[in-house]
């Protein structure tokens, strides 16, 4: 690498006690820093001031429909899996005003929202979340239309990835080939190592802005021993995935089983509450609501997260196209695991496990796929 040749470090060791130096460096460079923090007995994403805002010493237990915050017996900063929030709430806000309009003597005038948010830094982005970020980039930026809301927030984003040191009870990134190690798409990546009383981060730069940020930290070069310890952390995580999903031929398997009786079974359980789509880091659907004031002289257009689990989502002249829970659950799951491939050239699922944990009924996408694979009606179909 060029930088290494010039003698600039691309990988250093940062003492755990110096983590604040990273937050400080980010803030000094003009970033607002967002990351994991404890709120209402869960680890959510919020604005961070210092490293003390991180969920130090906390972890989580997760299963279908269950999440419990637990104390760890060490002082790890990142010893937990992903929680109910995902980074999409910052880049694709749940509710955002698109424009407002004001009546004039003749016609009306449109005022576009010129949201120019302060540069953001995400601290603690997991490998699966980087993959989700890449997927949403494709959706919002790389098609025929670019979403200006997403664009303005995404530009200049600084990403600090964290390689996972524990696998959550519903994680299956290994199956989806997205983790637990962050391979690309970050500015800096951290691996937290707690070993023999030592507590440090192996910090690697993945971009030019990352290298510049790295240069602002105390320069302690990484040795082979640090790299080996960090690699062991990730390997251990990979070996403890809470879930697995066999993806071989999955898109065509599902496409060929659209009338499988399993859809009826899951429909009996599904609440059509939409929680799965809200928490999914790749789901991108939204609706727009137009509002007027009482005089009718002022109007606004708002965009809000929507979901294929609502009736309105598939509403056409005669009513809702997907009126049954069966058709709505099937739309969600086949979009994630099958038709996404046709639409965007990859799976729509990164294996983060959120839809399993945060489904109040604990419906498990990996279980549903498995049930169809074990007793398929057809072995394949047109994807």
């Amino acid at each position: 690498m060029d930088a290494t040749r010039r003698g600039i470090q691309t990988e250093i060791v940062l003492a755990a006690t110096d983590l604040d130096r990273l937050l400080l460096a980010l803030k000094e460079t003009g970033y607002r820093v967002y990351g994991p923090t404890v709120e209402d007995q869960a680890i959510v994403y919020g604005e961070l001031d210092t490293a003390a805002d991180l969920p130090r010493g906390w972890t989580d237990e997760q299963d279908g429909g269950i999440y419990r915050l637990k104390k760890r017996d060490d002082a790890a900063f990142f010893g937990f899996a992903v929680g109910p929030h995902s980074w999409k709430k910052y880049l694709f806000p749940p509710e955002v005003k698109l424009w407002s309009a004001h009546a004039k003597a003749k016609g009306f005038e449109i005022e576009e929202e010129t949201a120019n948010p302060q540069k953001m830094a995400f601290l603690g982005v997991r490998a699966c979340e980087l993959a989700a970020l890449g997927i949403q980039d494709r959706v919002f930026l790389q098609g025929s239309f670019v979403d200006p809301v997403y664009r303005s927030r995404r530009d200049g984003l600084f990403v600090v990835a964290v390689n996972c040191s524990v696998a959550g009870g519903t994680c299956f990134c290994v199956s989806m080939n997205t983790g637990p190690k962050a391979e690309s798409g970050f500015d800096l990546s951290l691996t937290e190592v707690l070993k023999n009383g030592d507590h440090y981060f192996l910090v690697s730069a993945g971009s030019e802005p990352g290298r510049e940020m790295l240069a602002r930290l105390p320069q302690r070069p990484a040795e082979t021993e640090h790299r080996q310890s960090a690699a062991a952390v990730v390997e251990n995580t990979a070996a403890h995935m809470g879930r697995t999903l066999n993806t071989e031929g999955l898109p065509s398997l599902l496409a060929g089983n659209l009338d499988h009786p399993r859809w009826d079974e899951v429909a009996k359980r599904c609440l059509t509450c939409a929680n799965c789509t809200m928490v999914c880091p790749t789901c991108f659907c939204s609706t727009v609501e137009d509002v007027t004031d009482l005089s009718g002289d002022h109007a606004e257009r708002w965009r809000k997260w929507d979901s294929c689990f609502t009736m309105e989502f598939s509403y056409i002249a005669q009513g809702s196209l997907r009126s049954s829970a069966r058709s709505r659950y099937r739309q969600w799951m086949t979009h994630k695991l099958s038709t996404w491939h046709d639409q965007f050239g990859s799976s729509g699922c990164v294996g983060c496990g959120r839809c399993i944990t945060w489904c109040p009924e604990g419906i498990d996408i990996t279980e549903e796929a498995k049930a169809i694979r074990e007793a398929p009606q057809k072995t394949g179909g047109k994807p």
Partner: protein, 261 residues
């Protein structure tokens, strides 16, 4: 300036109710002047004794039908109103007073009143739509004042009101609240409840009480399954579905399914 509209004449009517929904209109402090500016309030017993005769462009109806007299009166209101909008759980589902529908009213009356012969009441408390055609139903106990302004606003501007019928969970997730069921094991009716309040209770670490009634496709049986797993017994399930919207069909069926004989 856009063409000056003739101010629409709006009447507010009260049937069996607590007045809480009417009060939401008075509670619109910031919007009240704009509302008063945009509409001519012809009848609003909670705010003023002034009374203008019909017909009315919009009637807002609060409360349920519980007496033979009201059963007649609602037809008169309907005849005088171009648009009739019902507001609140009483008017849209029979309200908390619909708990009588599960019991023998005659028995109450003789137990409670010294001279039961003076009491003229119906055996059931029912929604306005069970008696006359209704143009729009605004849910909630009480209704959300912003939604009320939104509905009036939509009718004045000839557009569809934004009052989505999906689950309360969607509002809960949009505001970033941690799910009380999943993270705390607290029973919550959000998944089967119509959105509208903005998911207030979960944001205070409480489960949803179902004030806005059933959502568009409520899977109440599965909801009961979730609650049972959280340790709620059959009596608890009956009580959960027998709140302000006890007589809304999906909730009624679900509470009856768990009743012990």
């Amino acid at each position: 300036m856009p063409a000056q509209r003739k101010k629409p004449k709006v009447a507010v009517w009260k049937f069996a109710s607590c007045d809480g929904c009417q009060l939401s209109l008075l509670d619109c402090e910031d919007e009240l002047l704009a509302v008063a500016d945009a509409i001519d309030i012809a009848n609003f017993p909670e705010a003023s004794r002034a009374f203008e005769k019909g017909p009315y462009d919009i009637s807002l109806v609060e409360g349920s039908i519980t007496t033979p007299h009201d059963e007649e009166r609602i037809h008169r209101v309907r005849r005088m109103s171009r648009v009739l909008i019902t507001i609140g759980a009483c008017a849209t589902a029979g309200g908390i007073q619909a708990l009588r529908n599960f019991q023998d009213v005659e028995e109450f009356i003789s137990a409670v009143y010294a001279s039961p012969q003076y009491i003229s009441t119906l055996s059931h408390s029912t929604a306005i739509a069970d008696h006359v055609p209704v143009d729009f139903e605004l849910r909630g106990c009480p209704i959300n004042k912003f939604q009320l302004v939104e509905v009036i606003n939509a009718f004045l501007n000839g557009r569809k009101p934004n009052t989505p019928a999906y689950s309360t969970c969607i509002e809960c997730k949009r505001r970033g609240t941690v799910c009380v069921t999943v993270a705390h094991g607290t029973p919550c009716l959000g998944p089967v409840t119509h959105a509208g309040c903005g998911a207030i209770c979960p944001s205070y670490n409480r489960g949803c009480y179902g004030c806005y009634g059933p959502m568009e496709s409520p899977n109440t049986a599965s909801m009961s399954g979730v609650w049972s797993k959280l340790g709620v017994d059959r009596d608890g399930l009956v009580r959960a579905f027998r709140g302000f919207n006890a007589f809304a069909e999906p909730f009624r069926r679900e509470s009856e399914a768990h009743e012990r004989d």
